[in-house]
Symmetry: C2
């Protein structure tokens, strides 16, 4: 079970370690969307994404003995850097398992936080087996990306802070993939504001949570092709999904093109850099004007890690 | 005279109208620079630049009768939009005088705030004469871009807020061109923290304040060729310069290339978009490591209005 108290405890642990990210507003966005939007800017979080909140809280929640053994994560994205930085802050070893063809820049960024990167061949090896073997051989603790209550509780602190700053929200939109962020935010928001309507937002191409939500059971899809590389999980989590079903109003879908348009808007008008998954919830508000008309809407801007070459390409599309 | 009280009064007027912009930090920047930097993010201000603070304060400081006559400004940049938006908020007419070859996007943005744009031919007409004629014909009040105490006082509120959030700064770096922002910030900072060292930062190509500071008199240079289009004034102001001489430690120079590198850094690592003049003070810290080693340094990030096509070009340079 994930309780509001877990989120409060996570907040204590993160105090002075994670940034309390600002809540931004844009009158131009509001005019276009026909509602009043409050953007929780997790792209300004450490490592450039909300993932730091969950990873650090997970490490903080381990016993001293467990933690000293070191930690392991599978990821070539924001979770990798979040775990690497958290481990560095605790002064413990971190092993990150990545596919051999992971982008060199991500490998370097993860190593820069002092983590050891171990590669597996994605055609001949399973990353789970590689990881489990390493955990057993070295006694490392696995840090899962989302399906873990300590991870969810840490991630939920972003909605907690947003609602502290802007208590009277009518709706809250949260990017979703494995649904750790969505589950944590839903528990925080529902507790602080019982009548709030909570929405998950997913890429059209990666609609596993949307399908699961409709069928009432966890549906698995092939790894989706979308520019939202933070949202390529193929099924919601075992622990996250029941929370989503209980607390979330609906799952909304957004196309890659709408994400790019929103990235451009947020860069040009709001002067912030967001990654595709960071733009997705804002894109959903623009797209579903009628559903949010006249409301006060919270939007979690989950991260800002975009390769500048990719960004240049997005800017050239119109 | 510009007093600290003028800045306090400006702050009252701006309350609830201007954004209280966040103060951002970046551990990676600190590691590279060898000091602790606090970025006052005026790129997140309304109209995307600190200019709004000065323009709104100027309009608020007029008598009701004066204000109702309407206002006029010469500018095709951030000042134009700042005056246009301020006039819109007061419900009064604004005329903006621009050269005929001003970028269409700037004309459109200014008109979007409800201002009337009047063109002059920069080869056959003087903008001053065009403006004066319009002021006389229509009874409009001229809103100067920097050489005016109400403008300086409004702009100085950014340093006031920064020092409220981070009182113990050793140094403060401020972009400078006509020196309105620098003068306002210097008065605020010196009052709140008498021992602070205040620096203006200018493009290498547009070193009029640097020259003036050294010669002890206002030196005029030809309109400088620099990517910092916010810093192309050819001499410091008559009212601003004596304040600069009295309160500022030194003027630092930064090349266009260093600005571009800093724009890239701030976008990639800090997830914020800054224009060349917005990056210039941060660039000076990176460049002058020894001067700020171990210090707590305040940096005014003055604005974020960059054309996305230009940004794409900056991203492609390395």
């Amino acid at each position: 079970m994930l309780t509001f108290n877990d989120i409060l405890q996570a907040r204590e642990r993160l105090h002075g370690v994670a940034h309390r990210t600002p809540v931004l507003t844009s009158r131009q966005f509001n005019e276009q969307a026909g509602c009043e939007v409050f953007f929780k800017a997790e792209n300004l979080q450490r490592v450039g994404a909300f993932k730091f909140r969950g990873a650090y809280n997970k490490l903080a929640s381990l016993s001293e003995t467990e933690r000293q053994r070191g930690v392991l994560a599978f990821s070539s994205g924001n979770h990798a850097q979040a775990v690497a930085l958290s481990a560095k802050l605790f002064g413990i070893p971190a092993v990150i398992v990545m596919p051999e063809d992971a982008p060199q820049i991500k490998v370097a960024a993860t190593r820069a936080y002092g983590a050891e990167v171990i590669f597996y061949d994605r055609y001949t090896q399973s990353r789970e087996e590689t990881g489990e073997r390493l955990c057993q051989e070295r006694g490392l603790v696995l840090v899962p990306p989302f399906d873990d209550y300590a991870i969810m509780a840490g991630q939920g602190t972003s909605a907690l802070e947003l609602l502290e700053d802007v208590p009277e929200l009518d709706s809250l939109l949260v990017p979703t993939s494995g649904s750790g962020l969505l589950a944590g935010c839903a528990v925080a928001a529902r507790h602080l504001r019982p009548n709030i309507r909570i929405f998950g937002v997913e890429p059209e191409a990666g609609n596993d949570t949307w399908l699961s939500f409709r069928e009432g059971r966890r549906v698995e899809i092939p790894v989706p092709k979308t520019i939202a590389d933070g949202l390529q999980v193929s099924a919601p989590g075992q622990l996250t999904f029941p929370i989503i079903r209980a607390l979330v109003e609906d799952i909304l879908l957004v196309s890659d093109g709408e994400m790019i348009e929103t990235i451009r808007f947020m860069l040009e008008r709001m002067k912030i850099l967001v990654e595709p998954s960071g733009a997705i919830a804002a894109a959903a508000v623009r797209q579903r004007k009628r559903d949010f008309s006249g409301q006060r809407v919270g939007v979690i801007v989950s991260g800002g890690n975009v390769d500048l070459a990719k960004l240049a390409a997005y800017l050239q599309q119109s």
